[in-house]
């Protein structure tokens, strides 16, 4: 589960970090009121209006059909109104959203933190995530903030630093000092950075995060260290022990069909191909998608019916797949282990009867526990489905169905 920038920053603040302060608004009027509140607090007319969607690249992204960027500086209240009017209700298309973009329903009106002062401002990159190789949590940090870290790593790998945390003892002071030194800081900014790093660590650990990324992390002209942006992903497996974080879930950001599937204990990811598939097991589901592609089609979805697929769930899965108008054929690939093939077959027969006319060819491949009984069930039902036993045969049938 992902959080919005404003939610992630609140968590950082709660854990002791300084953040670029802001107020969430859902209407242009609220945005102006927010700008007024910030003006009274920080004595500046300048604010940044930031679209709140679950995707990066907002600054360079544009509202569909306009030249309005997803993040923009406003130097007076009129401009705040104009920008938030452009953003709210618009569809923001960024490098990460894909061409369909994401609807903006909230903006964060935030203080301008790039004000001039005694020293130059400087942007850094800071993140924390799991290093799968070592099984330890690792900080990734760089002096090259405000940029795409993958690009920094590719062109100037020497500028990307890593610091692993020993799970036995947790983050140590010498590590925060090392990181702050590597970022070239001294004096007050150095001290502020070591504090900031600890707050980042605390946020990551206390929320069971899968990733916290602060880009940019800013040294202000008066030597404060603060988070200008924050991206936070949570470990779905740990949400059961964080009801407060679960409450931050924004269903508007999720594909409604994927949410509906999840509620039915189906693992579904929508793709843009022409062959729908229904499989048990994540690995076999991915492999089936690959096979569809090799057969000349392209997968319309990833769908894992899970280890305890029953007739009801199979019917639900059919209904979800059929909602996609691009689907020209459906491949059911079940390797029965704990899942009994005859039960899945019954689900297919039931789905056919209750959905009525299914307009696309269905290829059913049932192998493993009770595969024979399953094939009999399907053959006896008189349904127009193409049955296969071997994976190879199923691939051939997909080819035929698309021809």
């Amino acid at each position: 589960m992902n959080l919005h920038e404003y939610q992630a920053k609140e968590l950082l603040k709660k854990n002791g970090a300084v953040i670029q302060e802001g107020i969430v608004a859902t209407t242009p009027e609220e945005a102006v009121a927010a700008a007024q509140t910030l003006k009274e607090k920080y004595n500046s007319d300048w604010v940044v209006v930031k679209s709140q969607i679950h995707a990066g690249g907002r600054g360079k992204g544009k509202i569909e059909g306009t030249d309005q960027n997803g993040v923009a500086l406003a130097k007076n209240h009129d401009k705040v109104k104009e920008i938030s009017k452009n953003l709210l209700g618009g569809v923001l298309v960024t490098k990460q959203t894909g061409p369909t973009g994401k609807k903006v329903t909230k903006v964060l009106v935030a203080q301008d933190v790039y004000y001039p002062g005694e020293s130059e401002t400087k942007e850094f990159y800071l993140s924390m995530l799991l290093d799968r190789g070592t099984g330890k949590n690792v900080f990734i940090y760089s002096t090259e903030g405000g940029m795409d870290i993958e690009e920094v790593a590719e062109h100037t790998p020497e500028k990307v630093h890593k610091e692993w945390v020993d799970p036995s003892v947790g983050l140590q002071d010498f590590q925060t000092r090392k990181m702050a030194f590597n970022l070239g800081l001294s004096g007050n900014a150095f001290k502020e950075m070591t504090k900031f790093i600890k707050a980042l660590y605390k946020t990551y650990m206390s929320t069971d995060a899968s990733m916290v990324e602060i880009n940019p992390c800013l040294k202000t002209s008066d030597n404060k260290i603060l988070a200008v942006d924050c991206k936070l992903g949570l470990d779905d497996n740990a949400l059961y022990r964080h009801p407060d974080l679960l409450a931050l879930r924004d269903l508007n950001e999720e594909d409604p069909t994927e949410t509906e599937a999840a509620d039915a204990e189906l693992n579904y990811v929508k793709l843009d191909g022409n062959v729908g598939c229904m499989v048990n097991g994540a690995g076999l589901a991915m492999a089936t998608m690959d096979m569809i592609q090799l057969s000349g089609g392209s997968p319309a979805n990833f769908l894992d019916v899970g280890g305890t697929a029953n007739a009801e769930r199979v019917e639900k899965a059919f209904r979800i797949i059929l909602r996609d108008p691009n689907v020209k054929a459906i491949l059911v690939n079940i390797f029965g282990g704990i899942v009994r093939c005859d039960r899945v077959a019954q689900g297919i027969v039931d789905a056919y009867k209750s959905i009525g006319d299914i307009p696309v060819p269905i290829i059913v491949r049932l192998q493993g526990t009770n595969a024979k009984e399953a094939k009999e069930l399907i053959d006896k039902s008189g349904l127009q489905v193409r049955s296969a036993i071997q994976l190879k045969e199923a691939a051939e049938e997909v080819k035929k169905a698309l021809a």
Partner: protein, 294 residues
């Protein structure tokens, strides 16, 4: 011989009296696995499926001399169960549980690094030595005894591979499901190494998926150790979009190196026999085993 488990393994079941534990323990006993008891805290002294129940793994180890434990404990308590088994000195721990919080596994893996136990999983189908012992949840009848070792991140894809091996007229020495989570106990490379050193394994089927670098690490190790036995490889997820989690918590493309294409390229460069289609695994095994140049 085979690897990890055999008919001599003495197996206990953690989470023995629960629904999952009961179902799969029954299946394992029917398969012929030497299940010597189980652990459910608070039910020590009782009998379940005609086997003794213990309060702790340490008690079970003392009474039965068990050297293998299989875990069916719910996700919130599974990391603790793994550490308990390691503390009791159980040589092989197989954790089936899916959905363990990542940070719990950071702790458990760190704990295991100070102990002698080997962990398989979590979020895996287990280990099976056909005709010897099934310590897992796989359909036993699919696995025919033979001389092909299988290592895989995925459950049903392991069954698929075993089925194709059988259809090719061959069989399996041991199949190891290493699990699909970001942190697992035994890596692809370690599993491959076990098979390379097993006199009863002639060739290895290595099945991976997008995410992480386990397959690339294994492929380089195989090359650096002289490609002693042929390895047939497949990576699932060639059509998976980046940044989306495909079912398994570990199956997500993060960078350029953990795509299926990158992994398959590295595997080919290291001398593995890589198939593009999951339907061709058995065929390739048969070709390699009959000495046909591929």
């Amino acid at each position: 011989m085979s690897v990890l488990v055999s008919k001599h393994s003495k197996v206990i079941v953690q989470g023995f009296t629960g629904k999952e534990g009961t179902f799969h323990a029954t299946q394992m006993i029917e398969y012929g696995t030497n299940v010597v008891g189980g652990v459910t805290p608070g039910k020590g002294g009782e009998k379940h499926l005609d086997k003794p129940v213990f309060n702790s793994v340490a008690d079970a180890r003392k009474a039965t001399g068990c050297d293998v434990s299989i875990i069916f404990v719910p996700p919130a308590f599974a990391a603790d169960a793994i550490m308990e088994a390691a503390d009791a000195g159980v040589e092989l721990i197989v954790c089936i549980t899916e959905g363990i919080p990542v940070q719990d596994m950071v702790t458990a893996r760190n704990y295991l690094s100070t102990r002698k136990s080997r962990l398989i999983g979590p979020n895996c189908p287990g280990v099976i030595t056909p005709g010897g012992a099934k310590v897992g949840i796989m359909p036993g009848f699919v696995f025919i005894p033979g001389r092909i070792g299988i290592v895989s991140k995925s459950g049903t894809l392991t069954y698929e591979a075993a089925d194709q091996v059988a259809k090719a007229g061959l069989g399996v020495s041991t199949a190891i499901g290493i699990g699909g989570d970001p942190i697992i106990g035994t890596t692809t490379r370690e599993a491959v190494e076990l098979f390379m050193n097993d006199p009863d394994t002639d060739a290895i089927v290595m099945i991976g998926e997008i995410g992480g670098s386990l397959e690339a690490d294994a492929a380089r190790w195989i090359r650096d150790n002289g490609n002693k036995k042929p390895v047939i490889g497949f990576i699932a997820g060639q059509t998976a979009p980046p940044g989306r989690r495909m079912g398994h918590a570990g199956a997500i493309i993060g960078g350029a190196d953990d795509t299926a294409a990158a992994k398959m390229r590295i595997m080919r460069e290291c001398g593995l026999h890589v198939v593009d289609s999951p339907a061709s695994i058995g065929e390739m095994v048969a070709k390699v085993m009959s000495g046909v140049a591929v």
